[in-house]
Amino acid sequence: MPRNLWSSLAKGAAGFLLGLLFWWSLSTPYARLLATLSEPLIRISERPSVTRLIADGTELTIDRDDFPRSSPRPNLLLMDITANIILLTTLFAVNRRPVSDRNALGFLLASLSLIVVHVAAVVMNVESIYALRLGPWSAVHYGPVARNFWGAGAHFYSIAGVFGAAFALWWLFRPSDRSAAVSAAGSAASRRRPGKTPNIRS
């Protein structure tokens, strides 16, 4: 077992709670952001553009101008789609120097990339609702290939992609051990010789 297991567990627990706090407290404004970013992407493929995504708390209500006024509007739960931010925050918290500039930059880049993933997931889920859940309307407007594509895409995200994406982004953007060591040595050298640029060999 690694020597710093307890330290990693403590950092992981703190990161997990922080991620939970982010996810819980920002879910309502984040739903509005996702609606704003996803709606134009869905409308790109529509002639005429009829889809409107309306943020309602932590859900998106999917409305279309061509839906009958009396019919119920489908909803999309966002909490399941966005829960991977908790995982991402925890993974960055467990890194060797969690509050270093490199780790913070990596976390920022990974979080921005995760927004792109969330937008893609919303588009995929909305299209999957259109393709599979609107009865005869779905059958008329979506062929078998499109139905399978959107349905499988949304299902893949909910089963494997949601957390696979967070893991992959952490792996891509986490600072390497070597850069963390260089950063630490640089800080130490700066403290010893203020005003001088540290000369570090790695």
């Binding site: 829960a83 089963i159 494997a160």
Partner: protein
């Protein structure tokens, strides 16, 4: 020319992504789902009901449903531990290692994930009997992340223990 330090990461993530999609496609096929995943999920539900019956009487499993007079829980895809195992398998396949190391990693990790998943299902069932709101929160926010974190922790430990050994020796 200096090698791009990001290249190994990009290669790993690409292999991981492809492996995850392929594994998902296999698991999502109807015959595999009907003849492997659903019976496995029923087995997981049965084991959970057995564990729960040591705490309280009247807990039984019917197919993939765990039920008591007060609460019923249907174990579906995403709650049977298969998703965490898929992620782990994809990561182990994407990482450079010997076949033996991979097989050891896959075997040990899958068992560990499924044991942890039994704890998850037991705790969710007990929570669901007492407070539905807390059940929903813990189900989505806490346990899903914890299971995947456990899978990633196992993968990282495995990569340190097994996969990096040949690299160290060759230096």
């Amino acid at each position: 020319m200096t090698p791009n330090p990001l290249k190994p990461r990009i290669v790993f993530v690409a292999k991981f992504g492809v492996a995850l999609v392929v594994l998902y496609a296999i698991v999502a096929l109807n015959p595999v789902n009907d003849h492997v995943i659903v019976p496995f999920t029923a087995f997981v539900a049965h084991c959970t009901a057995l564990m729960l019956s040591t705490f309280e009487s009247g807990v039984v499993s019917v197919g993939t449903v765990i039920q008591s007079p007060r609460f019923a829980l249907d174990v579906r895809n995403g709650c049977n531990g298969v998703e965490a195992t898929l992620l782990l398998v994809a990561a182990i396949l994407g990482f450079p290692a010997s076949l033996r190391s991979r097989l050891i990693g896959l075997g040990v990790a899958s068992i560990a994930i499924e044991l942890l998943n039994l704890v998850r299902l037991c705790s969710l069932f007990l929570l669901g009997e007492h407070d539905r709101k807390i059940f929903d929160f813990v189900h989505v926010a806490v346990w899903q992340s914890l299971i995947i974190l456990a899978a990633i922790a196992i993968f990282v430990l495995w990569s340190i223990k097994f996969a990096e050994k040949p690299l160290v020796k060759s230096r």
